[in-house]
């Protein structure tokens, strides 16, 4: 029996009272009283912190690729031929934006305690994610049909690398969405572990980042190819 959605939105901040460098309250003792105690497992807010840190690392990875492509394009002797991105990428970009919007809707449903609405919008996001990935594969197929391969030109090589790396990150997001959806319908483990509220928040953070990253990369292709 799944838990009611409204019961599982944990106040992550309260769990943090025990940690993080504030001067200890001299009043509390071994009973853990006076509002200062330590969770047995990972504090809920730490999942958000971890995700923010991970996004920093992922950003550096993509910035390295973007910088490499900018340098490659501008260096003397470069045989860079600008690539016109396949038109289907406009559709996949719209799908990415739509998936972020459905996710926002799902989160609102979650906060309102509307379980069936949450599940519907949450899974819609995952489906849109799968559609996005299918669209990216179609874009590759279009290029291959036109005889444009990975090694045809550095601009194409970078295009394939960008889309593959982004697609893998988005695939990870789809898996996370499906896992949370499955947990939501089959019940969550008791603590210690991530709470449903934190899980949805962290997954949403990641998903919006991946959407934003795609819009950035698509703009980059359009501007410089």
């Amino acid at each position: 029996m799944p838990e009611a959605v409204s019961d599982i939105e944990e106040p992550a901040v309260a769990l943090l009272d025990g940690g993080g460098g504030r001067p200890p309250d001299p009043g509390f003792g071994d009973d853990g009283g006076a509002g200062s105690w330590r969770p047995a497992g990972t504090p809920q807010s730490t999942y958000t912190t971890g995700m923010l840190v991970a996004l920093g690392g992922i950003s550096m990875f993509f910035m390295a690729l973007v910088s490499a492509s900018v340098v490659h394009r501008g260096m003397p002797g470069s045989d860079w031929v600008p690539l016109h991105p396949p038109s289907i990428l406009w559709v996949t970009s719209a799908l990415a934006v739509a998936s972020s919007l459905t996710l926002v809707r799902a989160r609102r449903m979650f906060k309102a305690g509307a379980e069936s609405g949450f599940s519907r919008w949450w899974m819609a996001t995952a489906v849109l994610g799968v559609c996005f990935l299918s669209g990216q594969l179609l874009a590759w197929r279009q290029l291959v049909s036109a005889g444009v391969y990975l090694a045809s030109n550095p601009s194409v090589g970078f295009f394939y690398v960008f889309t593959a790396a982004h697609g893998l990150h988005l695939l990870g997001g789809v898996i996370a969405l499906l896992w949370i959806g499955w947990r939501q319908s089959h019940g969550w483990r008791k603590s210690p572990g991530i709470s449903p509220g934190t899980a949805t928040a962290v997954a949403a953070l990641y998903w919006h980042f991946v959407t934003g990253l795609w819009l950035f990369l698509f703009s980059f292709f359009l501007i410089g190819g």
């Binding site: 943090l16 025990g18 940690g19 993080g20 460098g21 504030r22 001067p23 200890p24 309250d25 001299p26 509390f28 003792g29 071994d30 009973d31 853990g32 200062s36 105690w37 330590r38 969770p39 047995a40 497992g41 990972t42 504090p43 807010s45 730490t46 912190t49 971890g50 840190v53 991970a54 920093g56 690392g57 992922i58 550096m60 990875f61 993509f62 390295a64 690729l65 490499a68 340098v71 490659h72 260096m75 002797g77 470069s78 045989d79 860079w80 990975l150 090694a151 030109n153 550095p154 090589g157 970078f158 690398v161 790396a165 210690p192």
Partner: protein
């Protein structure tokens, strides 16, 4: 217990062998796994260096287990590559941060474990896979790669045609390093999240031990640098396997074959590599700086001089480490204006480095130094950091670097400042924390013998190497017998080689001491060094949750030694102000 804590019910420790010692999520077990992985790697790396030194003196001599009997030039270069890779990644990156950091960061901030224990376990096993992949490069057709630990393109990007080891061996190298990058990124994420969110009540950032600051800044550098190397590694892999030309220009001819690439830039690889590679130097040394500071304060029985300045200097070193990568590429034909900018930024690193050095000396000044083994190695660290760092100021000048770049001067510089100094930091950490990790003391007499052999030995190897470099001794050559102007320096080379043999042999003392002390060492109490930080308030070794459910609160900074009015000459961080006059043991 005189200090206040709070009770928490934590999960039971795993009991089965596999969950407890192999696929463990306990940060202490994972720290020890990293430690022994690094120990294995350093033994392999040292043996490779012995073979190299042997070959440099006697290039025609037979090596018993080597294919073909006599070492070829390609085999020599493969040793250079594998020695560098093994030491930089699997020793200098692994032991100080992933090993000791994993074990002690949570305990020193009063946490029960890392923020993400399963991710932590995954980090270790991916690192282990990376290690196996690198070792496998020895056993593939044509053996290990010859392109150096920097894997410069185009040599590393072509494949089999560019020479022995550049086929499967180089591919295994790239797979290994890419896996290592992934594992390091996961580890860095864990370190940062743990330190930000899981500090004990009262453990403000400015009450953290300097070791924690070292691990934190290192984790940030790791997070920002390894993603860049991973990106470069993927592009290099595609150049080798998919026919792309990210790093490969047109017109390359290897072994009489025109290569089917065009438009790529070998310099692009250098930029990506060194954008990672220079922060990597600080990834190796910053944890050692933290350990040296920590140990100096403890064995001087004196607060660290200028704690805040030390923290700022560490952060400044971390920041500046990201804007100086071009000084590795002065000879690449870069614009003199770029070279000037990189030169100025490089010399600027001397400022926070000098702050740290003067603060270490300030800590020593007027103190009653306890010359225990950890202290000897911490002093050795300071000495080697200064000796190795000074030559960096000369190399920061493009005009000087153009002359010295391809010589042994550079080899001597980075071995002293990055290699040996970091290793001394690790030795200090090992002798200092061994009692906490294993509940027994290491033998101090053997430790002191080990120190003197290693300290004197390191200088005997690397100080003459500077002169060899200044005299035009070119690095990476496998055989110098045909270079007439270097023949008068042969006695110097012999001296360095014999010093290397003696120094390497002296490490057997350390290995014996380590394994002997695991079983036979004197039993250590909770706090054998009368130290102040939180790892010393728990049992040796600590329980599964580090504090037996009694989690500490923190009331003071990490280095309160010889405080007037206190009963003892040290005040643990968790001692309440009202208890200070009664002392830690009351």
């Amino acid at each position: 217990m005189s200090a206040h804590g709070h009770t928490v019910h934590v999960p039971e420790a795993p009991t089965g062998f596999i969950r407890k010692y192999v696929f463990s999520t306990d940060h202490k077990v994972i720290g020890i796994q990293y430690f022994f992985l690094a120990l294995t790697s350093v033994v392999v790396g040292m043996l490779l260096s012995v073979l190299m030194r042997f070959h440099l003196l006697w290039p025609g001599a037979k090596v018993p287990f080597l294919q073909g009997g006599v070492m070829t030039q390609a085999q020599y270069l493969s040793l250079v590559t594998m020695h560098g890779t093994m030491m930089v990644f699997f020793v200098l990156t692994t032991a100080p941060q992933a090993g000791f950091g994993n074990y002690f960061l949570p305990i020193q901030i009063g946490a029960p474990d890392m923020a993400f224990p399963h991710l932590n376990m995954l980090s270790f096993w991916v690192t282990f896979l990376a290690f196996l992949s690198l070792i496998a490069a020895f056993f593939v057709p044509d053996g290990a790669p010859i392109s150096g630990w920097t894997a410069y393109t185009p040599l590393s990007g072509i494949g089999q045609a560019s020479g022995p080891g550049e086929g499967w061996g180089q591919t295994m190298w790239i797979v290994s390093i890419s896996l290592f990058c992934l594992a390091s990124l996961l580890g860095a994420l864990n370190f940062i999240a743990t330190l930000i969110d899981m500090r004990a009540p009262g453990m403000s950032l400015m009450r953290m031990p300097l070791t924690c600051w070292g691990w934190f800044v290192t984790a940030v550098l790791t997070l920002l640098a390894f993603g860049v190397l991973l990106a470069g590694g993927i592009l290099l892999f595609l150049d080798r396997t998919a026919g792309t030309s990210f790093f490969l220009p047109a017109g390359l001819v290897f072994t009489d074959q025109l290569q089917p690439h065009s438009g790529g830039s070998p310099l692009l690889w250098q930029h990506l590599f060194w954008f990672f590679g220079h922060p990597e130097v600080y990834i190796a040394i910053l944890p050692g700086m933290g350990v040296a500071s920590h140990v100096l304060s403890t064995f001087c029985r004196k607060p660290i001089f200028g704690y805040k300045a030390m923290v700022i200097a560490m952060n400044a070193i971390g920041f500046l480490g990201f804007v100086v990568w071009g000084h590795h590429m002065f000879v690449s034909g870069m614009s003199p204006y770029s070279a000037f900018a990189f030169s100025v930024m490089t010399m600027a690193i001397g400022v926070p480095s000098a702050i740290k050095t003067f603060n270490w000396l300030g800590t020593l000044w007027g103190s009653k130094i306890h010359f225990d083994v950890p202290m000897l190695f911490a002093l050795g660290f300071v000495s080697l950091f200064v000796s190795g760092g000074l030559s960096g100021l000369f190399l920061a000048q493009p005009a000087v670097d153009n002359l010295l770049h391809a010589t042994y001067y550079v080899v001597a510089h980075f071995h002293l400042v990055m290699g040996v100094a970091s290793i001394f930091g690790m030795f200090a950490a090992t002798y200092f924390w061994f009692p906490k990790m294993f509940g027994r003391m290491m033998n101090p007499t053997l430790g002191k013998i080990h120190f003197w052999f290693t300290f004197v030995g390191a200088y005997c190897i690397f100080m003459p190497m500077h002169f060899l470099g200044l005299s035009g001794g070119i690095r990476r050559y496998a055989d110098y017998t045909a270079i007439s102007y270097l023949q008068p320096l042969r006695p110097l080379t012999m001296f360095m080689t014999y010093a290397a043999f003696v120094t390497v042999t002296a490490q057997l003392i350390f290995l014996f001491n380590l394994f002997w002390s695991l079983k036979k060492g004197e039993v250590a109490g909770k706090n054998p060094w009368n130290a102040t930080t939180l790892e010393w308030i728990t049992t040796s070794p600590p329980p599964h949750d580090n504090f037996g459910g009694q989690f500490p609160s923190v009331y003071r900074g990490p280095y309160e030694f010889n405080v007037p009015g206190a009963r003892e000459d040290f005040i643990p961080q968790n001692l309440e102000p009202s208890q200070v006059a009664m002392g830690a043991q009351s």
